[in-house]
Symmetry: D4
Subunit: 172 residues, 8 copies
């Protein structure tokens, strides 16, 4: 389960601080991934090649992140039968709405599985959930991750009930 199953593509290395969260959570789930910098607009042929060969190169899910007029995920989805997850990235203007609309409003026939603005971590989890349909071990990781999240919330609430609001706020 160490070979790369997920391709994580972004148009610019300025998106890495957001997109690295997808790689980190996949790593935690034991899912291999490969990260590419490949813009839909600056290197369209390279992007098309990555998309067209993704399946034969063993990738099973693709995550694409971009800001502004974010065409990367849609352009890739046009060229592969693999499920494509899109991450809208907030850039300097319009608060990420431009990227959200550019990714989620895909025309009939070519879906992109869109997550929240800057939601790269959730893109990684969604990729793992998709792989979990096929790989029981990844499904197990998802289940453990959900239990862990639940425990963290339970622990925080237990602490709050124990020490009270004022003390809790001081400890934050």
């Amino acid at each position: 389960m160490n070979s790369a199953k997920v391709a994580i593509i972004m148009g610019s290395d300025s998106d890495l601080p957001v997109m690295k969260e997808a790689a980190k959570i996949l790593d935690k789930f034991g899912v291999g991934c490969q990260v590419f910098i490949s813009s839909a607009h600056r290197v369209p042929e390279k992007t098309a090649r990555i998309a067209r060969t993704a399946e034969e190169n063993g990738f099973e899910v693709i995550i694409a992140g971009a800001g502004g007029a974010a065409h990367l995920a849609g352009v890739i989805a046009a060229l592969t039968p693999l499920p494509v997850i899109g991450v809208p990235i907030k850039s300097g203007t319009l608060d990420g709405l431009d990227a959200l609309y550019s990714i989620v409003q895909m025309p009939s026939g070519i879906p992109v599985a869109t997550v929240a603005v800057n939601g790269a971590k959730n893109a990684g989890i969604l990729a793992a959930q998709i792989l979990g349909v096929k790989y029981p071990k990844i499904r197990d990781h998802i289940n453990r991750f959900k239990e862990e999240m639940a425990k963290q919330v339970e622990a925080k609430d237990a602490r709050l009930q124990e020490i009270g609001l004022d003390t809790y706020l001081k400890e934050m």
Copy 2:
């Protein structure tokens, strides 16, 4: 490949005219699905039960459609390790933006794979793409579907080049 792999859930039967497109395209791909009416707010226990038992009942992907403060997809995603696809449905006010934001902006840890407003057909295709990771026959269906779409566009363009814009417009 006839048993139901995809659960399609919506909060109200008024969403059926939109959501039936997911069932139709899955049927075309030979993917079985079961349709449920189960609101996150009106029958929360029933919805929780469907979500919690989805995996053991053999479902591998869930599609959830809702309008307004559309909590259905998120509520289901909280209770299952399966990938959950959300369809924002446009209702009488705010042009579907309320449903889009309520579905796509999920917090870290619980993704929902969001498609376009009223994009139920794309939700069905995305479900098939996800299942295609595991089932080569469904992958084949996706590939044939993409070829078919391409042929239709090619045919229309060929016709346009042949008869010219004015005649084409008259034939529409």
Copy 3:
């Protein structure tokens, strides 16, 4: 009048700096409250249990605060006949609009009493106004609070009229 009548629930302790204002104003009104950290998505069963048992545990009003795809208030409102007040919390993207739409646009049958983005203090006041329907002493607190607010504005205006704009601005 010291036992907790109001449950204040939020999905994450990162919401505490906003939500603590509800507790502070209720405390000022002599209304007891209990604060819970319980996410609709990370600990759905815990959240359901709090909602379902709120009435028998003596709570009379519930305040729920969340950001992003803010399902907490709606999920709770589905499981209790108590009035539920929702506080949309502004998070990193979309300026709180996502939370506002996710809370206010509830479907017919399950209202959530929504206040302004980050309006936790007003949520506390609204809870007191609701309790004031039943408890004359809380109504008295509301009336005194309104008088106090009025006096503060009157005092500021009197000061402004006395010393003039330029001096007032320097004193700020």
Copy 4:
């Protein structure tokens, strides 16, 4: 329980087709209400008088509906310690967003319990939930109403499971 406990106020009788839903559901719950036409801008004194005397006239909750720059709910909330519920009404432009923002974004100190755009029925239910804090019989009505809603959804889903999607769609 027949005397009017809820005042329903709107700025124009053109809002009646939306706002009458609040009166209808309150009537179903056995809660008396009185409907007023009184604009914040066209008859400010009348509106102020209704607000200021609401408590002494026996009203316990106020519902106010308006469109555009919808000041009615806020103007009333300024003049009464009663809980005020605001209904944003969609008019010819801006899709109801203007009314929503004008009602929900109240300043600190003067909350308005805002429901969905055109959500007058939910305003009535919320008023009943607030009265239910004091009157057990109204609480009972709320509980029965929630059960009824659940049964309707259950019945629709049962019918769908029985006759299948195609037949169900034909029957709609």
Copy 5:
């Protein structure tokens, strides 16, 4: 021409850093103004009194600034035949859109002359333009102000043409 002709009203002294620009420009035009702190929601009677007596107190134009659900200008316009200018103030959330919609979307019959978000200086100029209809000397001030503005732009452009872009940028 020194007695106050313009009343400048705002709901809170936190609006003074924005609203003082209206007073400053009116002062520059030799138009007297009086500044009031008087909230539509916290001191509704005081606000109503200022509005109702504005005409008899010699005011000829009113400027009202507020943020969030900004009812101040509309509430005043309801109670006076004087022209009322509204200044939407940007507060912590929604980027001033809430205030803009709450002020500009007034119902038929009660206009508010709305300026840009945080546009207090323009509110002062507009007040002077309105007074200029009656007072030729104020009209003269407006004309001189427009000439001055033009000269400043001309001077900057002349400087830019003279020293070139690079040097100009260094001087900034």
Copy 6:
């Protein structure tokens, strides 16, 4: 008081069905107006000439209505010391927001008194309020108009109290 004091300008005669309301209400107030069709973009010189000569031609207030990238009001305001009222007109797309922003967000120094989207009637009333600063008879008209509006609302409310909601709704 019959000679034209108000110039009403619009870019296209397709705006007349909205803009005629300004002329109608001014006529009712006994204020003369002249209507011009003159686009900022299609006949810029003509528009500039109307603006530049408006004062010497005896106009005292200008109303300008436009949709889309609505530059008309701002272009006129640049060329006259008269107060300019802008009416954003809703056209086929973006629900009038484009016109609203294009009119209200004027830069410092050149205000436009903006009214609601399609608010031509209010533009006429505002023009009369501005003229009322100078002409007591127009002020009297404004006062009578406000009383009339109030009486209409009072009459409707009285009728509603007399015949009850159900009968009132049937009569509508």
Copy 7:
């Protein structure tokens, strides 16, 4: 000047009723154009081929129209040094905003010259203006077109001044 200088591309023939306006105005200007149906998502290779060969095929400007997540213009701009004009098309949801943001917010390095939502006629005019830089005859056409537009507005205004508002409205 009859051979095609402008390529007009759209993703679907459902866009033809909007996009045909570009062809019509270019025809009026004597500029040849060729219309293509070629989706960025359904036939990505065909679209890439059209873009890559546009220059050698003699095209000098490209117009691309699309709705929703409108990637067509950007995808073409990535593959050609020709100026690319984008037309956002309003489809069933989000009022054309999704298409506008997807086209105009292009990343640094790959501009798309964006016109108004559904602004295909203006796209044609802009293409002619661009060609007019090189071809004086097309520049002449632009100048005549501008004069014609001006005359039409002048004629309408003259008619209005002659017959008055009431008669003009009846004639409309």
Copy 8:
């Protein structure tokens, strides 16, 4: 190719930090440009003169940048047959949406080629692409620029593949 072919106009020198990017990229392409400070609202005659004489002064493309109610580009487009490129500039409120709508939503007949909010560099590139229709040397510059961009992305991706994500992030 050294004489100025592109006029870059902005309303205020506060727009220079954004707009200088257009001059910089044109300089890189060997295209001469002249920068003007000339507001549509503060110096309307000067702006009209620049627009009207642009063609005879040898300019072939105009770039206009403005924020807020950004009329500059439209006002210029009304007075010249040259192609006009508009740059919406983000100012203190509304996140640049006001400028975007004011520039892109031009009425039929008078297009403005709009680029992204703050997209001055792309405006420069688009101007060069337009000039490239006429001047093969500028077309060559565009082609080289596109190759250069592609190489930069290729180099970054190659570096990432070589050193891996963790090391790459540390080097950033």
